[in-house]
């Protein structure tokens, strides 16, 4: 079976591999205003265990930054191997921001790093703009990054060990943060002395801005039940750890592990405009078909924030450990990463992770 055949998609769409040989590719960030020319950067991909790759307009892959982790990952999935370099976003000026874990003596912590570059193909300077946030060497670390109107929004997991921190206004875990691009706190935040924009979250892996209402939406992973999608409002409390349902607009009681999310613009035509596409990763590592995850679903969210329509869009039907992890709309289609790819990754071995593109036929 060809790898394309491993993905079941609707008849009106096509799937193609656009980058391969990646090492645990997680999230994708497109260059906001890509320059013309074959060698100009088109999008960036985080690789979990310490690299950022850049893919050019002609789909050649280069290492943008590497050796980003100051510890040795242990490759245990699920578990202590699920953390590393996760979130990524590109500013209009070409600066690249990435979220990641680091080890400070014996403790794991979260940080956000800004990379500056001249040609977009190689990072020349790395500057930590946010750090010293306690974390864990597992899921629930710092996650998605987005930029809106000159501010950086940072999804931060609760760190797993003490969920109550999500309600603590003096702790940055379990929050959406809003900061300036140099890491300072904007004076127009809900609390001008705090970077906290919203609280009460557990493991908010994905984030995307919806142009039609100019709001941030996130995916958040529940414990044994209740994964959710939430619309983020400034100063709002999303309930965790008392509840994963507070202020949510959609909940999966049977958890599917939602990861990347993004809204369609014109890539699939007017019929799909403003629809939310959600990656459901499922178990951290399972070969072949499984009862949860390994798919992308399409959602229609109406003006009253009700999910009016939910439809399975793509499903993995191959025999490997691939699933859908990061997801982002580019100018010509929906791109996603498959993390483990068809062959998976073990310590000392190369991964066969890929980036795929779905287009309307």
């Amino acid at each position: 079976m060809s790898q394309e055949m491993s993905w079941k998609i609707q008849k009106a769409f096509r799937i193609a591999k656009v980058a391969s040989g990646l090492s645990l590719p997680v999230n994708i960030a497109f260059v906001p205003n890509p320059k013309p020319g074959k060698t100009a950067p088109f999008f960036y991909v985080t690789e979990l265990y310490g690299q950022i790759k850049v893919v050019t307009n002609e789909l050649k892959v280069f290492t943008f930054a590497d050796k980003l982790l100051n510890y040795e990952p242990d490759y245990k999935m699920p578990g202590t191997g699920e953390s590393g370099v996760i979130g990524i976003v590109v500013h209009e000026n070409g600066d690249v921001f990435a979220s990641m874990l680091y080890r400070d003596e014996k403790a794991f912590k979260n940080r956000v790093v800004k990379f500056t570059t001249k040609d977009g193909l190689k990072a020349e300077k790395a500057e930590t703009i946010l750090d010293n946030i306690p974390s864990i060497n597992a899921a629930h670390q710092v996650q998605a990054l987005t930029i809106r109107e000159g501010k950086l929004f940072v999804n931060v997991g609760d760190g797993m060990i003490d969920p109550e921190v999500a309600q603590n206004d003096n702790d940055l875990r379990g929050k959406i943060l809003r900061i300036n691009l140099d890491g300072s706190i904007p004076q127009d935040n809900p609390n001008p002395k705090s970077s906290i924009y919203a609280k009460g979250l557990r493991n908010p892996f994905g984030a995307a801005w919806r142009k039609s209402d100019n709001h941030l939406y996130i995916s958040d992973n529940g414990p044994a039940v209740d994964d959710r999608i939430a619309k983020i409002l400034p100063g709002e409390n999303y309930g965790w750890p008392a509840s994963m349902r507070t202020n949510s607009i959609f909940v999966w009681w049977y958890t599917e592990a939602p990861t990347g999310i993004d809204f369609a613009e014109n890539q699939f035509g007017l019929e799909y405009k403003d629809h939310l596409f959600v990656a459901l990763f499922g178990y951290a590592y399972v070969e072949g078909k499984t009862d949860k995850g390994k798919k992308i679903v399409e959602m229609v969210i109406d003006k009253r924030d009700n999910v009016a329509y939910l439809n399975e869009f793509v499903r993995y039907v191959g025999e490997g450990p691939a699933s859908v992890c990061g997801l982002a709309f580019g100018p010509d289609g929906l791109y996603f990463t498959d993390l483990h790819g068809e062959v998976g990754m073990k310590k000392g071995e190369k991964s066969g992770g890929n980036v795929w593109k779905i287009t309307k036929a």
Binding site: P78, G79, I136, P223, A224, A257, V286, D291
Partner: protein
């Protein structure tokens, strides 16, 4: 009576050994599949729980966490 069968099949699906709370004492005593067997007798520090992400828990609709501490599901 425990709700989860202590079978080779479930043991293969068990993810306890990758959990941040799984420690050397549990490893030395070859303890796992706590949701089917019993809680650990090792000293336990709550460093996070993976039960919600476990196929055994999911397939059996378990909705609690830290079975290594609370004992087998009933």
């Amino acid at each position: 009576m425990a709700k989860i069968a202590d079978t080779e099949e479930n043991l293969k699906k068990c993810i306890c050994t990758g959990c941040p709370s799984y420690n050397q004492c549990m490893k030395d005593k070859i303890q796992e599949l706590f949701c089917a067997r019993s809680k650990t007798d090792c000293e336990l520090t709550r460093n996070g729980c993976l039960c919600g992400a476990c196929p055994v828990a999911s397939e059996n609709r378990l909705d609690k966490m830290y079975y290594c501490q609370i004992g087998a599901a009933e």
